[in-house]
Each structure stands twice: as structure tokens, then as C-alpha cells.
Point group: C2
Chain length 232, copies 2
């Protein structure tokens, strides 16, 4: 009953779209999935910027020749992808997600957005009316299958071509056990990572908010901290 | 600048009091500190029950002969201890902590209480007016030096005499860097554990609430899950 990667579904044939794929987190995830040989679509408000970013990612070290990495605007990418990751700034989250209700209908949507504020004492969790970013996405996308995941993954680690393995766990919050399996399988395409089911959407807030703690840890210990779940 | 146990203060001469020391979490922590040879005081509303619990803990496997393990009521234990851990149920937290303002003045107080509710869908984080249990403690104990820690430590692991090492990190939230060092040193007396500074008190809520996620993980993977911070 522990974590067993061999029981996860096959996601090698799926196309992963990343809304906000030109930002640090989205770009880093796009790179890692492309490196794993998955078809990746980089989404942005500007199709032109997305295509340029996709071309840059395809040329990065470790991406197998022939891997499909393409770009498009957010609607186009949502339409053409099987799984879509939301990686936009919290500021534009509701507007961006709400505009994609139709193209995201029936799809798996992974939200990795962390609603944080910053002041002179550092980062802190923002209050979100729906409870969390992923619950806001679930409210705006009633026909989609929504999960939170990849909230804690350090963008500098994702982007560094010298790093082969990223040793951490991705915490997955969702109402849908099948979605949890697909997200865990997607996570497992990145060497070193495990996707661990970590509760329902109502318990996603603290996963998102914990990013503020990771930032405090990074500052104190000069690290790119992540989380590993013990005894699993 | 990473975690370095050799830089932590010496806590071997300190007396650790545990309010709620007859409960599962408190009793487990008392056992581990006694096993490490620290002087431990078990606190309870009933001095009699506390003394009985202390005698039982002193007789458990691995506690060095001559280790001071004694019991008393909560006021007595608060008065006689250098560091006091609050390990009471959330229900009685405000009343218990508020009554100890005077004996806890000037002392280091570690709050490990998690405000959780349970319904048919499992555990969830309760709203706390002050933001978190530890912030409530800080408000009630203005003369004390307050930290959150030990929120995620599994009581069954603490209690199991067959388990020598408990491999996880204790996340420490506090405003006081010196307190963070003392709590980290106390944590390091339990083999396998590290105490990691994880931010200010305003970012303690998500540490407490994350216990709901650990309970979900335990259920899904049949584990006693904890957290290890990666890259530190």
C-alpha cells in the first residue's frame, strides 16, 4: 500500500500543456517534461512568445531529438493538450483560468499557483475567498478534473541543465483518485520525484501556503528546499 | 550556511516540561527526551496522573538509569522547567495556556498543537482567530518566548521502543532566532531528527494545518508520514 511507481498509469503518450509556460515555474516544468520525452505545449497570452519559448526549450540539453515542443496562445494550448498545468502569477489567476473553461472542459488541470504576499518581513499566505488557488480553479472550471501539484518545486532546480535528478516529493491534492494517479505518473517522469496523494482540495491551502515557509528555509539555509514525505 | 548540528547550543542540562504529558503526543515526546537523558517533567491537570505517567516513562526501554523523570500539575511543571512544550488537545488550548502566563514568563514555550476538525471526509484545518495555535499561545503568553515545533511527529513512532531513529525534520516557526536554535538542539537529541527553522509565527498556520495532509497520506499509504526538507 506504499508508494509504488510501477502501478501508475502510462502517460508517455499524453500531451502536456503549460499555461504560463514562459514564466519561471512553467518554463522549468516544460523543460523537465520535454527532457522526459513527453509532448509539451507552451502556452502564453502571446502565441509568438510561446513559440519562441518552445523553440528555446526544445534546444536545451537533454531534450531528446524529435520531442514535440510547440507553443501557442492559452486557448490553443488548452484545446490541444490532454493535461494542462496552470502556472500563472496569482494576480492573473482567476481571469486566466476563467477564460479557459470551455477548452479545459473534460481535461485534467493541475494548478501549481501559490497565493503569496510579500512585505519587509518576507512572504506570507494570502487569504483566498475559495480557500486556495486550486479551489478557485475548481470553481471556475466545473467541467474539468482539477488537482493541485508542483507547488513546491524550485524553479532554479528545474531550469538547471546540469541537474539530472530532483529529489523531492510533489504533494497532490484532488477529489479524484484517478487524477491523483495520472498526476503521480506525470511527476514520476522527472527523475528523483514522486507524486504523493496528500488529501482533498479543502486541504490544499496549506500546501500552497507552505511555499512561504520554503522561501524562509531557502533564505536561512541558502538552499533550494523542497519536501520529501518520510515513511512512504 | 546549511543545517549544522554542531553549531547548536547545549541543551543537555535543561529541564523539559510537557503540558499534556499524559496524552499520546506529549507522552511520546517525554519518552524520547527521557531516552536522550534529559530531565523531563510530565505535566497534567492531575498531579497524581502525571506522577504515575512519569514513573511509567522512566521504566520504558532505553531510558538511562538515573534520568530525572518526574510529574506534577501544569503550574508546578511550568515553574520547574526551562523549556515547556504545550501538547494539549486544541479544545482546551486557550484555557490551559492562558492559565500558565505567570509560571511561563521568561521561558521558552513550544506549541505542538494542531487545530483540526474531523468529519466524514476526514480531517481539515480549523479557522483560528489568532491565525494558528502558536499565535494564540503567543498572544496569551506575552512574557514567554514562543515557537511552534513537533507538529508533525507521529505519536506511534515516538512511543515505539523498538524504533531507535525517527527520520524526519521538525519545522520550527518563531520570531526569535535564539529560540529557534534551542528548539533545534532539543530536536537533535532525538536520533534521526533535525530541527529546521521554517519561518515566522504568521507562517505557522500552514505547518499546523499540514497535519491534516499527513493524516490523509497515512490513510492512503498505510504510513506514519512525516516531512524531510530536501536540499538542506
Amino acid at each position: 500500500m506504499g508508494y509504488d511507481a510501477s502501478t501508475l498509469p502510462d502517460v508517455s503518450g499524453l500531451t502536456v500543456g503549460i499555461i504560463g509556460g514562459t514564466g519561471d515555474q512553467g518554463r522549468g516544468l516544460a523543460y523537465r517534461f520535454a527532457r522526459a520525452g513527453l509532448s509539451v505545449l507552451v502556452g502564453s497570452r502571446s502565441a509568438e512568445r510561446a513559440v519562441q519559448s518552445a523553440q528555446e526549450i526544445a534546444a536545451l540539453p537533454g531534450v531528446p531529438a524529435g520531442t514535440g515542443v510547440d507553443g501557442g496562445d492559452n486557448v490553443d494550448v488548452s484545446t490541444r493538450s490532454d493535461i494542462v498545468i496552470i502556472a500563472v502569477p496569482w494576480d492573473g489567476h482567476a481571469a486566466t483560468v476563467g477564460a479557459l473553461r470551455e477548452p479545459l472542459a473534460g481535461k485534467i488541470v493541475i494548478d501549481c499557483v501559490n497565493p503569496l504576499g510579500f512585505d519587509k518581513q518576507g512572504p506570507y499566505a494570502l487569504k483566498v475567498e475559495e480557500g486556495s488557488a486550486v479551489q478557485q480553479a475548481a470553481a471556475l472550471l466545473p467541467e474539468s478534473r482539477v488537482a493541485a501539484a508542483f507547488n513546491h518545486v524550485s524553479a532554479p532546480l528545474l531550469a538547471d541543465p546540469e541537474i539530472d535528478r530532483i529529489e523531492l516529493d510533489v504533494l497532490i491534492a484532488t477529489e479524484d483518485r484517478e487524477v491523483a494517479g495520472v498526476v503521480a505518473a506525470l511527476t514520476a517522469t522527472i527523475p528523483g520525484m514522486r507524486g504523493i496523494y496528500a488529501g482533498r482540495l479543502r486541504n490544499a491551502h496549506q500546501i500552497e501556503a507552505f511555499t512561504a515557509n520554503l522561501i524562509a528555509i531557502n533564505k536561512r539555509y541558502k538552499a533550494h528546499a523542497g519536501v520529501r514525505v518520510t515513511d512512504v
